[in-house]
């Protein structure tokens, strides 16, 4: 049996998290809109966005003590929240705004995933919340890899677990999430 108890996810202390999170959030948001304005047809790749956000922010003194892995880990969460909020708003609006909006720019991101509707995406988020109650580590793995684009190796380092565990957890969590999403809510 695997050891139980506290899971060694890199602790995201509230105070540090808040600042890093909000800066990451704002930067990702800004980047998404900017990309959209530069090229309306561009598909937005979250991995690239997160990398880009780090490159922008790392130069700031506020981030001089932040490791890129830690940042990516936080940015993954910011990305998730950004997408969820956008999906919520678009679900509420369901009509095109006259100007290019953040939500439109994020729409391309959502539409490249299999779930093209906001509904599906919100359910994924919900399912991840449920998963976190069963296994915080698995939820962190999915969040890091799917939203932050962390590689297996990076995920392992960020969460302080082995690469084998990342792969094993990913597989199990993927199966569990798939079932949650397919079952009628």
């Amino acid at each position: 049996m695997r050891p139980r108890g506290s899971i060694n996810t890199t602790p995201l202390e509230p105070s540090v998290l808040n600042e890093t999170f909000s800066l990451a959030y704002e930067e990702l948001r800004r980047l998404a809109v900017q990309v959209r304005i530069t090229d309306p047809r561009a598909t937005i790749n979250p991995t690239a966005l997160v990398n880009e956000a780090w490159i922008k922010l790392a130069a700031s003194p506020k981030f001089s003590w932040t490791s890129p892995l830690h940042f990516k880990r936080v940015a993954a969460r910011a990305m998730r929240q950004l997408l969820v909020e956008s999906a919520r708003r678009r679900k509420a609006l369901k009509r095109c705004a006259p100007l290019i909006t953040l939500d439109e720019s994020l729409a391309s991101l959502l539409s490249t995933s299999a779930s093209s509707s906001e509904e599906d995406f919100l359910r994924l988020d919900e399912a991840l919340h449920s998963l976190a109650k069963l296994s915080e580590r698995q939820s962190a793995i999915i969040e890091s890899r799917f939203f932050g684009g962390l590689a297996v190796e990076e995920t392992a380092q960020a969460l302080g677990i082995s690469e084998a565990t990342v792969l094993r957890d990913w597989r199990a969590a993927r199966a569990w999430l798939g079932r949650e999403l397919r079952s009628p809510s």
């Binding site: 990309v35 490159i55 069963l134 199966a175 798939g178």
Partner: protein, 797 residues
């Protein structure tokens, strides 16, 4: 379900997931798994096998579809690897049947910075020429804008694997590291830090040649590099230096650390005391105690292999470090002096005084960075020598001053250092520090060079009389010490000429600079000195309105700079811009356009299509086109400049607003009133945001928008805008400013057309009186005012 149940279910899942179907059933039976759990497990296994899972759309793969089979002459064979920035393919050249590694930038559209980092790697490779560094073959861009480049494909094993497979002795392993260190040193000499040295980036070919790969996160130590590239990116933590992990500035010592870790891994535990000490020094957590450069590491590796004592000694290390500059002072000075020559060159290359100043500062700070880097190579220290701020350079200089002060028993070196450092401060605009050092240098030795230096400093401080006195003293001294035609006389004359030029004594400057040019034109004299004197005289001629002569002199210096730096150097572009300015001032707008376009041909590829310099050059061409009445073409170029500035400065930056203003003015002139209205509207918005609602530029923007309404004869819309802009001027400009005068005249016309004759007269008279008071009263506005006042008088009758 609770976490425990979930975990049990998972264990079961992993236990059976990879079993064949019948074995699964057997396992479940054997372990007495209940039907409910079985059902749950079944659904998980079904999902495990599903192919359309939402998480599988890992978006990264989705974007890889674009890669074509053929890139230029290369046919792609297979994927070699991928990183944060790009993917690498193995490519084969059909015509030569040779192999190359093709690197393609993914998501090039994401930002200009991304593209420039990619191009930076490409430029780095192009610039480095070392048998142990993979060579650049080819580079191009796909139709959709995706850049790629081809480089030497290296077939080999990672350093550690190779060493183990070949069962190499410790000595052979150290020799391999020495090879790597030499390649790293080559990169350092070109001001490139690798930042991601690790065994997998170092391959050894079958013939035993070491090859250093992947400069993807390397860093260039000059300002053309990406200023955001500070700290670490995607490097590999195991080999990263502590300062890198902390995100602190990096330097050459950062690569030294990685080399140390690789060496430690490679030689294992068979260490004698010396090797132990060597490795400890290389991987010291505090880089002040580390080998300060690849060079220092190389020397000790060679000492070790040769059985000689190491340079490094634990207790005396700090002492040695401080002695180092002294022992190598010629080398240190040579590097400092070389950089200073480079810096002083740059003061010459432009015509307008203010521009000359700013450009020289920019260029000088760049050169200082290079010098900072060189000094770093020799003495280490805690400077990144990075491209982020002049502050670092200043810190470096401060350190230099401390060092110089300590050299009291070596007055010659001390004096030289004072002058050199003083010159550097001067170029950075830190005139106080420069003053104290250069004065000390002159006090130490009142020679021609020091006097020239102090004279130029006094000019910078606008102490023109003193400057002239010093420069004349220097020239007299040079004549008394040297035979006629000596370089020192030429230099002193050049300095005096420049001093006189800056103080506006153009007539006096001409014979002095002509003498300098005469001396410096003799065979054997440094061409760069001649080019400088020619440019100074070119400036003098330009300011005194002798444009032909100025053009000729600029042409001459252009030829020299082309010979010295090649046809595509930014200095060459600056002179082309001078030549363009001459043509513009003499009304040859088409010629001006040609020169500025030539300058663009250098600046755009050198700095990149997204660089502010490219934007300013586009603007110069645009202005030349406006004066040729080719307004549409001009707008095209200005729009390009606008896009660049928007990217560089953001959408709401004053720099952007000034381009928007030019576009608006153009649109107004060509009668595209809707466009003009939009541009000026945006200009107002930007200025209001940038200056929190209070700045005279907001007034100008409103007044410009009002002019559009005037043109449409929408007088009632124009009037309030003019009034608002006048209020703004009143709050932000001194009384009776020309802007206020023009604003009142415009407002007067608006009131006149609305038949408010009395207030119209008041504004027109007030405005005209303000304009008439200016040093250079704008005739056209006065005429306008007079015309309207005349109309008023006839109406009154």
């Amino acid at each position: 379900m609770n976490p425990d149940q979930y975990e049990r279910l998972q264990d079961l899942f992993h236990a059976v997931a990879d079993l064949p179907l019948d074995a699964r059933q057997a396992y479940l039976n054997e372990h007495n798994i209940g039907p409910e759990t079985c059902q749950e497990l079944e659904s998980l296994l079904a999902e495990d096998a599903a192919t359309n899972h939402v998480l599988d759309q890992d978006l990264l793969t989705a974007t890889q579809g674009f890669v074509p089979r053929q890139l230029g002459p290369y046919r792609l064979q297979r994927l070699l690897g991928e990183g944060g920035m790009g993917v690498v393919y193995l490519g084969e050249r059909d015509d030569l049947s040779s192999l190359a590694a093709i690197k393609i930038l993914r998501d090039a559209w994401l930002s200009p910075a991304r593209r420039s980092r990619f191009q930076f790697e490409q430029r780095t490779l192009a610039q480095l020429n070392h048998p142990s560094i993979a060579k650049l073959y080819d580079a191009d861009t796909l139709e959709d804008g995706t850049p790629w480049f081809a480089m030497e494909y290296v077939e080999g094993l990672p350093l550690n694997e190779y060493s183990n497979n070949q069962n190499l002795s410790v000595e052979r392993r150290i020799r391999l590291i020495l090879e790597v260190a030499l390649a790293v040193q080559h990169a350092h000499q070109h001001a490139v830090i690798h930042r991601d040295l690790k065994p997998s980036n170092i391959l050894v070919t079958a013939s035993g040649v070491v090859k250093l790969l992947d400069f993807g996160i390397a860093k260039q130590l000059d300002s053309t590099g990406d200023p955001t590239q500070t700290g670490l990116r995607l490097m590999t933590p195991a080999y990263a230096a502590p300062e890198q992990l902390r995100g602190e500035p990096v330097g050459v010592y950062t690569d030294v650390y990685s080399l140390g870790v690789i060496l430690k891994e490679l030689v294992g535990s068979e260490l004698d005391a010396d090797l132990q000490l060597l490795i400890e020094t290389a991987i010291h957590a505090d880089h002040a105690h580390r080998y300060a450069s690849a060079d220092a590491l190389i020397r000790d590796l060679q000492h070790y292999l040769g059985g000689e004592p190491l340079d490094v000694r634990p207790p005396r290390f700090m002492y040695r470090a401080s002695k180092f500059v002294r022992r190598n002072r010629t080398a240190v000075l040579a590097s400092l002096v070389a950089a200073i020559t480079l810096a002083s060159l740059s003061t010459f290359y432009t015509l307008q005084l203010r521009r000359a100043r700013n450009e020289a500062l920019a260029e000088a700070s760049r050169s200082s960075r290079i010098r900072g880097f060189l000094v770093n190579l020799f003495q280490g220290g805690d400077l990144a020598a990075g491209p982020s701020s002049d502050l670092r350079v200043v810190t470096l200089l401060d350190r230099g001053v401390a060092e110089a002060t300590a050299l009291a028993n070596d007055p010659d070196t001390q004096t030289e250092l004072y002058r050199t450092l003083g010159g550097a401060y001067q170029k950075l605009g830190r005139l106080d520090q420069a003053d104290s050092l250069i004065t000390k240098a002159v006090y130490g030795r009142r020679d021609v060079e020091n006097l020239n230096m102090l004279a130029l400093l006094r000019t910078d401080q606008a102490k023109h009389d003193e400057a002239e006195k010093l420069a004349r003293e220097s020239l007299v001294l040079a004549r008394s010490l040297h035979p006629p035609g000596h370089l020192a006389i030429g230099r002193a004359a050049t300095a005096l000429g420049h001093v006189l030029e800056e103080s506006g004594g153009y007539d006096k400057a001409v014979p002095v600079l002509e003498e300098a040019i005469h001396i410096l034109s003799q065979p054997g004299q440094p061409a760069s000195d001649l080019a400088a004197a020619l440019l100074y005289l070119g400036n003098v001629r330009f300011y005194s309105g002798k444009f032909d002569e100025s053009g000729r002199l600029n042409e001459q210096s252009l030829q020299i700079y082309r010979k010295l730096h090649g046809p595509s150097h930014p200095l060459v572009a600056e002179i082309l811009i001078n030549l363009g300015a001459i043509q513009q001032d003499t009304g040859n707008y088409r010629q001006a356009e040609t020169y500025h376009r030539q300058a663009l041909g250098i600046i755009e590829p050198y700095f990149g299509a997204d660089h502010p310099k490219t934007a300013s050059t586009l603007t110069l061409i645009g202005r030349a086109l406006v004066l040729q009445k080719r307004l549409d073409e001009a707008s095209g170029l200005l729009a390009r400049a606008l896009v660049i500035r928007e990217r560089v400065y953001g959408l709401n930056h004053p720099q952007v607003a000034s381009t928007v203003n030019e576009l608006g003015t153009n649109a107004l002139a060509s009668g595209k009133l809707a466009d003009a209205e939009e541009y000026f509207g945006r200009m107002i918005q930007i200025y209001e945001k940038s200056y929190s609602g209070k700045h005279y530029l907001i007034g100008i923007a409103k007044s410009n928008l009002a002019s559009v309404y005037m043109r449409r004869e929408q007088w009632s819309r124009a009037e309030p805008l003019f009034r608002q802009s006048l209020v703004m001027y009143a709050q932000t400009l001194p009384p009776d400013h020309i802007n206020e005068g023009i604003g009142r005249i415009k407002l007067g016309r608006t009131l006149l057309r609305q038949k408010q004759y009395d207030s119209a007269r008041t504004e027109l008279e007030h405005g005209a009186s303000i304009v008439a008071k200016q040093a250079n009263p704008s005739v056209s506005w006065l005429d306008n005012a007079k015309k309207d006042l005349a109309e008023l008088s006839t109406l009154k009758k």
